[in-house]
């Protein structure tokens, strides 16, 4: 390959390939997260969910996409045309741009910036302009109110989530996504376990930042029709939708990298080999899992009612078999290749676990009222995050001065933050009651 491409542009080739892959795959991924959401929701409500298009609704996202693209594109008469056209683009561009610093495994990263985390935060916070300008340009009260709520919510929860991230940065001592994962590998513990309150605050903050239930007030159907998206339809609407799901993957990716050990395998210190080979048991797990999924879908194929659905089911099985083959083949490849492929597998597995938690929370909790949302953000999460950051600072001093271990030194911090959390929660209850009595 080296002699085909001039050396001056060689360093740009691989990043461009990754970027093209991400831009091409992400809409598909977003579609399937929607399907996953509908299936999980159906499961939690004891229904079946989409079953018609493809076996178990597996082709539903493609049908949805085609429908969206064929819909009429409407721009309201009194809308600010330029802004109306521009706003969804801002949302989707910023969401996609954030992927350039995300490290999906040790080998797959477009750019390893030494301000990586700050870059992702900055770019994803710019996505708010898409929502705010879109809501304003629609020239509709529902849209404007949705946009205003969105801006207020984002500014409030970004502070808490940012402070939660700082507690991890103190431990990792770097802003580069790769170095943060490396620090977790060196210290032998995922930061989610050593600073559980940081993780908790980030989890709540990230749900609020992506405007998802129970914090989906910017698009609360029962109050604001569809919030900032009310006047949008067809392709523009689907751009907003894509941005929303891309942002979900981004926050899940940040949480995975900072709190869940990024691409590190669970039990990274456990090195039990399969007898007679140089392969570790835990490394064989991904291949066996995907093989299991392949066999399961193969066993489901004869039970499908229509012939075309049987064929699709077999195709799904073949796809899983292929993935299993790649994962198994990686075991015999050089360590760098194996790390890259398995790292990507574990990273994606953790991202989807985090997204599953999002969906679970969505279908479990009722929506907050707007004043409750603000009170939770400013009077509970932000003070808690501040205490947590100070506690982590203390833990680092303990580690440096008294040579305490990476886990032991953080136990006082966690207990202290827990105490503050209980105090804040207790303090908050009478205030809420008083406001309710006032008829607020």
């Amino acid at each position: 390959m080296g002699h085909l491409i001039p050396p001056s542009i060689m360093p740009f080739v691989l990043p461009v390939v990754y970027a093209v892959v991400i831009v091409a795959v992400l809409p598909l991924l977003a579609g399937y997260i929607v399907l996953m959401e509908r299936k999980v929701m159906a499961d939690m409500q004891a229904r079946l969910g989409p079953m018609r298009v493809g076996p178990h609704g597996l082709l539903q996202p493609i049908a949805d996409a085609v429908k969206l693209l064929l819909k009429e594109d409407i721009i309201p008469d009194k809308a600010d045309r330029l802004m109306f056209w521009f706003a969804p683009l801002v949302s989707v561009t910023m969401a996609l741009l954030a992927y350039s610093a995300l490290a999906i495994g040790p080998a797959f990263q477009i750019a390893d910036l030494n301000i990586g985390l700050l870059f992702i935060l900055a770019v994803s916070s710019l996505g708010i302009y898409g929502i705010v300008l879109g809501g304003w340009a629609s020239n509709s009260h529902y849209s404007l109110l949705g946009a205003l709520r969105s801006a207020a919510q984002l500014v409030s929860y970004e502070t808490a989530a940012g402070l939660a991230l700082i507690s991890v940065l103190l431990l990792a001592g770097s802003l580069s996504m790769k170095d943060i994962v490396q620090a977790q590998s060196d210290q032998g513990v995922w930061f989610g376990f050593s600073v559980p309150f940081g993780f908790f605050i980030y989890l709540v903050g990230s749900i609020a930042e992506t405007n998802r239930a129970p914090f989906d007030l910017p698009e609360a159907e029962s109050e604001l029709v569809a919030g900032y998206m009310t006047e949008y339809s067809g392709f523009r609407w689907s751009l907003y939708f894509l941005a929303e799901y891309a942002n979900m993957v981004i926050v899940a990716g940040i949480a995975t990298t900072l709190f869940l050990g990024g691409w590190l395998r669970p039990g990274a210190r456990y090195h039990e080999h399969i007898p007679g080979t140089g392969i570790e048991w835990l490394d064989a797990l991904p291949a066996l899992l995907t093989l299991g999924v392949a066999l399961y879908s193969l066993s489901l194929a004869p039970k499908q009612p229509v012939k075309i659905q049987k064929i699709v089911m077999v195709l799904v099985a073949v796809l899983c078999l292929g993935v299993a083959g790649i994962l198994a083949g990686a075991l015999f490849a050089p360590p760098a290749v194996m790390q890259g492929i398995h790292g990507a597998f574990w990273f994606m597995a953790k991202v989807f676990a985090y997204i599953y938690a999002f969906l679970w929370i969505r279908f479990t909790f009722p929506r907050y009222r707007f004043d409750q949302l603000m009170r939770l953000g400013w009077r509970f999460l932000i003070p808690l995050a501040l205490v947590n950051v100070i506690g982590v600072g203390v833990a680092i001093v303990l580690r440096q001065q008294l040579a305490w271990g990476p886990i032991v030194s953080l136990i006082p911090t966690t207990l202290g933050t827990l105490g503050v959390a209980m105090f804040l929660a207790k303090d908050d209850a009478p205030t809420v009651a008083a406001h309710l009595v006032d008829g607020e």
Partner: protein, 170 residues
């Protein structure tokens, strides 16, 4: 590489100046805000070209991601139809002209004083790669006192804002 950098600089510089001009000439205040954002972003781009990536990211996070969101938030609450019909520009040519002249002289003086730095001798590529740490080092060792004074000023302003907001409710 040099020409690419130059092309990028010209791009960002033109974008910054053009959107700054557009910002003050638009009648629609939301459009003005958008052009202000573009100006801030292209200035950030110039910081990045100078390999000051921490400054670049702080400019985006603080100004574009924080302050401008609040600006836009407030603008949304303004009744645009009314404000667009009002006269928005004072026509006091004399005062404006005098002030601009003073400002221009100030700029010229600053350039004249710093003229020695205008000779661009190839950028020093051996700049420390960890920009963030260099900024932190400078702030917390050499410029400790001014940094703390600024922090206290900001804290006072914040508490003052809270107190003023509370008084109006009570």
């Amino acid at each position: 590489m040099q020409t690419l950098n130059q092309a990028l600089f010209i791009f960002f510089a033109v974008l910054a100046v053009a959107s700054a001009i557009l910002m003050v000439t638009r009648r629609n205040i939301v459009h003005s805000a958008v052009f202000l954002i573009t100006t801030l972003l292209s200035t950030a781009g110039i910081f990045l070209l100078l390999e000051a990536e921490f400054l670049f990211i702080v400019q985006i996070i603080l100004y574009v991601g924080g302050i401008m969101v609040l600006f836009v938030f407030v603008i949304m609450l303004v009744n645009l139809d009314v404000s667009m019909r009002q006269v928005q520009f004072n026509r006091q040519w004399f005062v404006a002209g005098a002030l601009s002249l003073v400002l221009a002289l100030q700029f010229l003086f600053a350039i004249w004083v710093g003229r020695g730095a205008l000779h661009l001798h190839g950028t020093d590529m051996q700049i420390a790669p960890k920009n963030t740490e260099a900024v932190a080092d400078a702030l917390f060792s050499h410029y400790m006192l001014p940094f703390e004074i600024a922090s206290i000023l900001l804290l006072v302003a914040m508490i003052g804002a809270v107190v003023m907001a509370k008084r109006r409710v009570g």
